[in-house]
C-alpha cells in the first residue's frame, strides 16, 4: 500500500482496514491446509467478485453521502431479465433497466427530495415485486456466452479475477484521476458549498445512482452466470452485505470519505470470513454473529470526527 494513500484522510483507510484481512489470511493459512490451495483461492475470488462490484457502486453513492438499498433487488431483477429475454437482447435489456432504475433513484433523491434510505428502500420493494412478476420460480437458462464469461479461465486465472480487476481499475480511474471523481468528494463533504463552486450537484448525484445501479446490474449478470439461473430473490443479501463491506473498508456513509482500496479490503475481509468458517468448520450459524463483531471491531478502529448517520 503506497504511503501516500495511507496518509490521505479522505480515503478512510486506517491500519485496521488492512490489518483485519491480513490477520484473517494468516490465521486461516495456519488453521486450514486447504486454504492456500489454488482452487480455494480461486473459489474465494469467484465468491466475492459480485459483492466487490456491487460494493464499488455502493462506494460511489456513499461518497456523495447517499446510500442505495436497492442494489440487491436490481441484482435479482437482472438475473430474471437475463433468463426471460431472448439471449440477443438479454444484456442490453438488463443494462437499460439498470440505468433506468438509477435515474429514478437519483431523481427521487435529488429532485423529489426523498431521503436516500427511503427512496432506495421503496425501489427495492418495487423491484423485488417486479422480479417476482417476471420470473416467479428460480430457474431458466442463461445464454451460453454469459456462462462462459463467468466460468472460463485464461492461463489458469479464473474469469472472476478479470471481472474484479476490470471493476477495480475503472473505479480507481474514475475516483482518483478524473474531475468527476474529485467533484464527488466535494459534494459529499458539503453539497451547498460544492454547488457554489459551480458544480452541477444534481447532475452528479443522479450519475452516482446510475453508476451504482449499473454496477449492481453487472454483478447480476455475473451472478446469473454463476448460479446458472434466474432467481428473483438471489440478490436480497447484497444490500446489507455491500454496506457492511464498504464500512469495513473505512468508507463513511456521511459522505466525502472512502477509497477503492478500502472497498476491496472490506470485501476480501467478508469473503475470507465466510470461506474460512467453512474450511475451519466453525458452526455456520455463528458466521453472521462473527461478521457483526468484526464490523464493530473495524469501526472502533476508525474513529470519526463527524457526528451523524
Amino acid at each position: 500500500m503506497p504511503v501516500s494513500i495511507m496518509k490521505s484522510n479522505r480515503s478512510g483507510l486506517r491500519l485496521a482496514t488492512i490489518a483485519l484481512p491480513a490477520l484473517l489470511f494468516v490465521v486461516l493459512s495456519i488453521l486450514s491446509p486447504a486454504f492456500l490451495s489454488v482452487q480455494n483461492l480461486s473459489n474465494i475470488n469467484g465468491q466475492i467478485a459480485a459483492l466487490l462490484i456491487v460494493s464499488l457502486g455502493q462506494l460511489v453513492v456513499a461518497l456523495i453521502g447517499g446510500i442505495d438499498l436497492s442494489v440487491g433487488a436490481v441484482l435479482s431483477l437482472t438475473t430474471t431479465i437475463i433468463v426471460s429475454v431472448s439471449p440477443d437482447f438479454a444484456l442490453p435489456a438488463a443494462l437499460l433497466a439498470g440505468i433506468a432504475i438509477g435515474l429514478v433513484n437519483g431523481i427521487g433523491v435529488t429532485v423529489a427530495g426523498v431521503h436516500p434510505l427511503i427512496m432506495t428502500m421503496a425501489s427495492m420493494t418495487f423491484l423485488q415485486g417486479l422480479a417476482l412478476l417476471i420470473h416467479p420460480v428460480p430457474g431458466g437458462t442463461v445464454p451460453d456466452y454469459l456462462a462462459g464469461l463467468a466460468w472460463t479461465s485464461a492461463a489458469g486465472v479464473p474469469a472472476a479475477f478479470f471481472w474484479c480487476v476490470a471493476a477495480v481499475t475503472i473505479a480507481s480511474f474514475l475516483l482518483s484521476m478524473t474531475r468527476f471523481g474529485l467533484r464527488l468528494f466535494a459534494i459529499g463533504a458539503n453539497q451547498a458549498s460544492a454547488a457554489r463552486n459551480g458544480i452541477a450537484v444534481r447532475w452528479y448525484s443522479v450519475s452516482c445512482y446510475v453508476i451504482c445501479s449499473v454496477a449492481a446490474t453487472i454483478a447480476g449478470i455475473f451472478i446469473s452466470a454463476r448460479v446458472s439461473s434466474g432467481d428473483a430473490t438471489v440478490g436480497a443479501p447484497f444490500a446489507l452485505d455491500s454496506i457492511t463491506a464498504i464500512a469495513m473498508g473505512g468508507v463513511q456513509l456521511a459522505g466525502g470519505t472512502g477509497s477503492v482500496a478500502g472497498v476491496v479490503l472490506g470485501t476480501i475481509t467478508l469473503g475470507l470470513l465466510t470461506n474460512g468458517m467453512n474450511l475451519v468448520g466453525i458452526s455456520p450459524f455463528l458466521r453472521t454473529a462473527a461478521t457483526g463483531l468484526l464490523l464493530l471491531v473495524a469501526i472502533s478502529m476508525q474513529r470519526r470526527t463527524v457526528i451523524g448517520v
Binding site: 486447504a34 490451495s37 482452487q39 480455494n40 473459489n43 469467484g46 465468491q47 459480485a50 417476482l132 416467479p136 420460480v137 428460480p138 430457474g139 431458466g140 466460468w151 451472478i223 454463476r226 448460479v227 446458472s228 439461473s229 432467481d231 428473483a232 430473490t233 438471489v234 436480497a236 443479501p237 465466510t274 470461506n275 467453512n278 474450511l279 468448520g281 458452526s283 455456520p284 450459524f285 453472521t288
Partner: protein, 333 residues
C-alpha cells in the same frame, strides 16, 4: 428385492424408479468426512431435521466428521459453501439446493472429483446427483386437495394459503393442490402468501374472514398458517370450516383442542437421516435406487391420537427417530 438397503421404513420412503446406482463406484474406506450443504434455517422442521441428521451421524462410527453448512437462504452463499466443501475434499456431500438448477456446476465438479452427491430434494433431472431422497411437494399438496374435494362433495369455495412466493417447494405443493381439485366445481375464492408464518397468516385470515368473503374450506401449504386461521375463526366466533394441516405436534394439538375437521400430510424430518444413510451406503459401495420419495398415508381425524404427543411442545414433528432421551431434551414441555 431382499438385499435392498432400507433407508426408512417402507411406508415412509419408497423408491420411485427401477434404476440403481452402480455398486462400488464411490466406495471408500472409512472413516469419512461428510458435508451437508443446506439452504438455511428458520423453521422448526428444519431444526429437527438437522438435529436428527447430526444425531444419526454421531451414531455412525464410520463417520469421522459431519460438517453442516447453511447459506441463510442466499443462493450465492450456497454456491460458495458447495465450492468450499469440494476444496476441503470431503468424502461425500449431501445437498439441498435452494432452487434446483442451482449448484449444477458444482455438482458436476464434485462428481468429477470422485465425490458422490446425495440430493435431499427432487431435481426432476436438473441435477446429475448420485441419489435423490425427497418428500412433500406435489403429493403433499394433493393430500389436502383430495381431502377437501371429498369433504365438500366436489363443489364450493376454498381459500388457498401459500408459503413464500418464489420457492420451488411451495409452488410444487400448490400445483399438487390444483391438480387435486381440477375438474371439480371447487373454486379458489382467495389466494394469499403468508410465508408459512403464523402471525402473517393470522392477519391475512382475519382480513378475509371479517371482510365477509365466502368460504367452505381452506387449503394450507403449511400448518403454522392453519393454526393462525383456527385462532381467527375462534376469536370471530365463526364455526370452523374444513382446513388442511400437516404432521406437526403444535398443529395436532390445535386440531384436537379445536375439534377441527382436518387432514395432515406427513413430511417427516427423518428424510435427513435417510439421506445420510444413503450416503453411507454409497460410500460402503452398496447399490441404491436413483430416486426415493416419501409419500406416507396422511393423519386423519380417525388416527389423530396415535400421532399426537401431549407431553411434547409444539415444535415436534412426527414421525421421528430421535432417541427418546433427545426428544425429551429438545421437546419436553
Amino acid at each position: 428385492a431382499g438385499d435392498d438397503v432400507q433407508l426408512l421404513p417402507p411406508e415412509l420412503l419408497a423408491p420411485t424408479t427401477d434404476k440403481k446406482t452402480p455398486p462400488d463406484k464411490y466406495k471408500k474406506a472409512p472413516p469419512w468426512t461428510i458435508g451437508m450443504v443446506f439452504p438455511g434455517v428458520g423453521n422448526t422442521w428444519i431444526i429437527q431435521m438437522a438435529a436428527e441428521t447430526k444425531s444419526e451421524a454421531a451414531r455412525t462410527p464410520e463417520i469421522k466428521e459431519f460438517i453442516f453448512t447453511e447459506a441463510n437462504w442466499d443462493p450465492t452463499k450456497q454456491v460458495a459453501n458447495m465450492e468450499d466443501m469440494i476444496s476441503r475434499k470431503v468424502d461425500a456431500i449431501i445437498i439441498a439446493p435452494i432452487a434446483m438448477p442451482l449448484l449444477k456446476k458444482q455438482v458436476d465438479a464434485a462428481l468429477a472429483a470422485g465425490i458422490p452427491v446425495i440430493n435431499l430434494g427432487w431435481s426432476k433431472g436438473a441435477l446429475p446427483s448420485t441419489v435423490e431422497v425427497m418428500g412433500g411437494g406435489g403429493p403433499f399438496g394433493e393430500v389436502g386437495g383430495k381431502w377437501l374435494r371429498d369433504k365438500l362433495g366436489g363443489k364450493g369455495t376454498v381459500w388457498a394459503f401459500r408459503g413464500v412466493a418464489g420457492v420451488q417447494e411451495e409452488t410444487d405443493r400448490y400445483e399438487g393442490f390444483k391438480k387435486a381439485i381440477a375438474g371439480s366445481e371447487i373454486t379458489i375464492g382467495a389466494e394469499v402468501f403468508a410465508d408459512w408464518n403464523y402471525a402473517k397468516a393470522k392477519g391475512l385470515c382475519e382480513n378475509l374472514v371479517l371482510s365477509g368473503k365466502p368460504v367452505d374450506g381452506i387449503w394450507f401449504s403449511g400448518a403454522e398458517m392453519t393454526r393462525g386461521c383456527i385462532d381467527v375463526f375462534k376469536e370471530a366466533g365463526r364455526p370452523l370450516v374444513p382446513m388442511t394441516g400437516e404432521g406437526n405436534n403444535g398443529f395436532l394439538r390445535a386440531w384436537k383442542e379445536s375439534k377441527l375437521d382436518s387432514v395432515a400430510a406427513v413430511f417427516t424430518p427423518e428424510l435427513g437421516p435417510a439421506a445420510l444413510r444413503a450416503t453411507v451406503a454409497i460410500l460402503q459401495g452398496k447399490s441404491l435406487y436413483d430416486h426415493y420419495f416419501s409419500d406416507p398415508a396422511p393423519i386423519t381425524n380417525a388416527n389423530l391420537d396415535r400421532y399426537y404427543r401431549p407431553d411434547l411442545n409444539d415444535a415436534f414433528w412426527m414421525p421421528s427417530e430421535l432417541p427418546a432421551a433427545e426428544i425429551e431434551k429438545m421437546f419436553k414441555k
